[in-house]
Amino acid sequence: MKYLLFILFFISSQLLYSQVLTSNGRAEAEVILMPNPDLRERLAARELLFWLQKITKAKLPLLALPSNDKNRKIFIGKKWAQNLFPEDLKALKGTGGYAVREKGDNIYIFGAKPAGTLFGVWKFLEKNTDIIWSRPNTEYGAVFTVTPNLTLTETNFRHKPTFWFRSWAGPGGVPDYTTNLWKARNGGAPQSTVRLPMRGSHYIHKEMGGIFAVGGGFMHGFLGKYMKTRPDFFPLIDGKRVISRHAQPCLSNPDVSKTLIYEAKKMLANAPEETIMLNCSNEDTWRSCECEKCLAPITLKDGSKLSPKSVTSEGDQLFRSTQTYMFLNKLAENLEKDYPGLPIQTLTYIYAAEPPAVKVHPSIMTLYCPYSTRNIRFPIHDATSKHPCHNWAKRFEEWKKQPSILALYEYYGLRYFNAIAETSAIDLRELAQAGGVGITSCETLQDVETSHYGFGRFSDFWDTTGMELWVISSLLWDPNQNVADLRDYYYKRTFREAAPEMKNFFAVIGKNWHDKNRKGVETCHSSSSGAFNRYIVIPGDEKVARAHLTSALKMVKHPDSKILIKRILSRFDDLAAKLGRLMIPSIPEAFIASKEFASPHWLKALVLKDFQLPRKYKRPHDPQNKTELRIMRDDKNLYFKIYAFDSKPGEITVIKKADKECFPLGERFDILLRNGTKGDTYLFSFDLNGNKYDAKEWNGQWNSNWSVKGSKTKNGWQAIVTIPIDDIKNKKGKISLEGLFSRINKHESNFKEESTYKGSTFSGYRMHPLNFK
């Protein structure tokens, strides 16, 4: 029995030892890469060594041939594997998939394509360590535990992606190396449309496993250069040729078609060998040609005529869409002999999103784009739309029936807290079932701290949507994965000790985001603070959501996880602040303070100084004289202290103190309060002499039990106003206040100037939410 136990112990320890990759920060393995490797395989080896050194502190040797050392050997690339694992390579053929196999002491990481090897290395690292590339940032984006003794746990797996088209696009002109690397590390294969001749960026793109196309928009890619020589290529709109790249060509002109085919063939002949597609899309505009031929009825295959119902593409999307796909069909027919099977990628966008009345050529790859009226909270088949004529679900069904190649063109670049991954999963499953090839998503911003193109600070996007992109990246390899499981994986690896609280936080957003009874149509253009309001504040979850974040911050130990949570909390607070809510403090001594202008309790009040001239968009809006408003409250009253500065106080004109209520027609201050967005409106107008006027719903007969105390000062005037809260409560006794504050500065010399807090127009009712602290 003793011997048996000893033998079992010996065998198991040997087996365990054979899984050891590093020991006490010392390498127990080597990496082997063929000489003159493919760019992607070279990056694969570099990434493996880089991350293993980061994680284990051990530097593994990189060799061109395996050494004679009795250590573990990791072979990178297809060439090492082709004789050993033919079945795997057969299964992976034509895909970007990968396999990791263990044979003896050796590990083989390979793909049928070089990019597969690269994706395989990253998955190998993920499965055998606790690393996650949670966001692109190089300082804290990758979260892992330093593990000097690394033992391998998963060394036999194979995976090929459901979709070959897994593209993420960010705006140009912004440094994007680390962001692109993040996309690749998580399985993305962004598309690059090559401008010939090739540039360095294409080399980097290729190295990361990206895919290539040539071409572009009708004008930008092909015909724009004929601006000076062929005005007839450009559309006739409102009676004249619009010579602009930002317009659709005159599609009925036979020379347009011939020239585009000529240009396309020229591009393909000079394209890099990795090119897998021709991109040929309508331009990003509704401006279409209105010439007689372009508006002539189209004869369909069955002999029927399709006549335009409008001269514009907005007015008849079916006609313009049919015209566009007939034009593209001609291109596809011309290219199929020389380039059989080459996808011709086109944007199924704006009017071209309407399924045409003709069959679309099987080589044409339609990027179905439900932009921008689809409510992105819900899957396409369940999508509510802002625009009644855009039935995205019906259109999607019709596109599925077309013989063309189907893909999605999405706008997942949402800069607000959202839970889009569940929606995306449903769309991707549906797309996979229909034989679709994948997606590209716009506006996935670079993880940089700078602001560009009016989007605000780009890194904010990753604070709110980083997890969604990570989950969707994973779904692009297998859309049938459980989104909740993927999220759990992300929480555990990214937020470590704080995973439960972060899960709670994101659950709040998910609950409200997916609630069909909750109003809100969201698109990539939705305002960040507006969405924050709709899915966190209005449902009454702001406090609880923030508490989850602060609690997570207390729990977390991993320094990088801590930074990530801090950033999310900071973004949360930024968005809360952007709602423009004015927090009115409760001061127990407020009633006493209301008797004295000089009471120190006023120092604790909310201070509003930003009084501006209304209706001065992008023009100087500073009033001649400044105004300061302080607000505080207790359980019974709201207290306002106004300090109205004036450089010529002697010239202020005020009406005499009246015996009864009268509107103060001279220099004055107006407070407009509303109890709830659709609630009653209360106007309180007063001046320094104590003249006052109040009205409820503009009815001056209504009277509040409010008081005004005013006085002149050396440099203007001041007043204290006390308004009983009970007087402005609604019938249910509730209070949810919004306010607008205006000063009318009036002098004897006909000078009259209105300044309002933040320049809001009084007639606009754009009120500032007043919250009770």
Partner: protein, 325 residues
């Protein structure tokens, strides 16, 4: 106030229902200085006792109509025959009795555009040859009487294609309000230098002629002496006006940007009201225009203006034939 709102809605509803071809029509009720002895000569239905005719003071000839305080309801003048597709102008003078006037509460200018029933409102309705009402957005939300001084109120409008009659109505649901009315004048509108109505807001800061829907924040403002500007807010909408003849047209706008998305859009529709095309221009302080060929089959157009402080917006015809072949 809620009760007043309900009364207003119910009153308007029933008064619209009550219109039939049998209602009296009279061409002479307007422009006679209210010289007749009996008040009911002017109105479609007998008016309450609190509505009377009184002689004008200070040697002024004729009489004026007095609506005493405490009188509420909808007061409809007799219908007047009109012809379709013509541009008419109606003016009258009125002064409000009561406290809800701009002289006593300057914030009343805000009330005009937020649909509160504390002010006297007025509107013009259209009817076909059978006396059936022709749907038209009633401008009651912003056609209000606001001053306790004699003030001229103006409406300029294109009569709808099937219109045979028009009717001037006044509504009041505030017991504290009274009103005096004088000098109603009506006729074809003199050339305003534009196809659209009220192109330069010349009728003053409380005359929203030509504008159907004023967005919150939208307001006519005194600019300089006898000049006005219109804060369109985010998307105020003009009334539809007829357009039929082909040719080249000019859309001209003068004003200042007052927000991020700042455009003057004109939408063209066909006879069925179906949208055909949009032409856009952004107003500048110096004025800016765009020339274009009217889309074929156009029968009407209307404006929607975003974030402008407009001083002028004009659609004019500049040529019978398209300027570009």
């Amino acid at each position: 106030m809620k009760l007043i709102k309900i009364l207003a809605t119910v009153g308007l509803f029933f008064s619209l229902l009550s219109l039939t071809a049998k209602d009296e029509v009279c061409e002479e009720i307007i422009g006679d200085g209210f010289e007749k002895e009996k008040i009911n000569y002017y109105f479609e239905k007998a008016v309450p006792k609190g509505v009377t005719l009184e002689s004008n003071i200070n040697d002024k000839q004729g009489q004026r109509v007095i609506f005493k305080q405490g009188i509420t309801g909808s007061f409809r003048f007799k219908k007047i025959p009109i012809k379709p597709k013509l541009k008419y102008k109606l003016t009258f003078k009125a002064k409000v009795i009561g406290d809800d006037v701009i002289e006593k509460n300057p914030r009343i200018d805000t009330v005009q555009v937020v649909s509160k029933n504390i002010l006297w409102r007025w509107a013009i309705l259209f009817f076909d040859t059978d006396g059936k009402s022709i749907p038209r957005p009633i401008q009651a939300t912003h056609l209000c009487l606001v001053s306790n001084q004699w003030k001229e109120y103006t409406s300029v409008f294109h009569s709808p294609p099937k219109a045979a009659y028009m009717q001037l109505i006044f509504n009041n649901y505030n017991l504290a309000n009274g009103m005096e009315l004088d000098n109603i004048e009506f006729g074809l509108c003199p050339d305003e230098g534009a196809i659209n109505c009220n192109p330069d807001f010349r009728y003053g800061s409380h005359n929203y002629a030509g504008w159907k829907e004023i967005l919150r924040g939208g307001l006519l403002l005194d600019n300089e002496k006898d000049k006005y500007l219109f804060d369109t807010a985010y998307g105020s909408v003009g009334e539809k006006f007829p357009l039929s003849s082909d040719g080249t047209y000019r859309l001209y706008a003068r004003g200042t940007r007052n927000g991020r998305y700042s455009v003057v859009n004109i939408f063209f529709n066909d006879i069925n009201g179906k949208y055909l095309k949009t032409i856009t221009v952004r107003g500048t302080p110096e004025g800016k225009y765009v020339d274009f060929v009217l889309p074929s089959k156009t029968t009407s157009a209307y404006f929607r203006v975003y974030n402008h402080l407009l001083t002028e917006v004009r659609l004019t015809k500049i040529g019978d034939k398209p300027m570009f072949e």
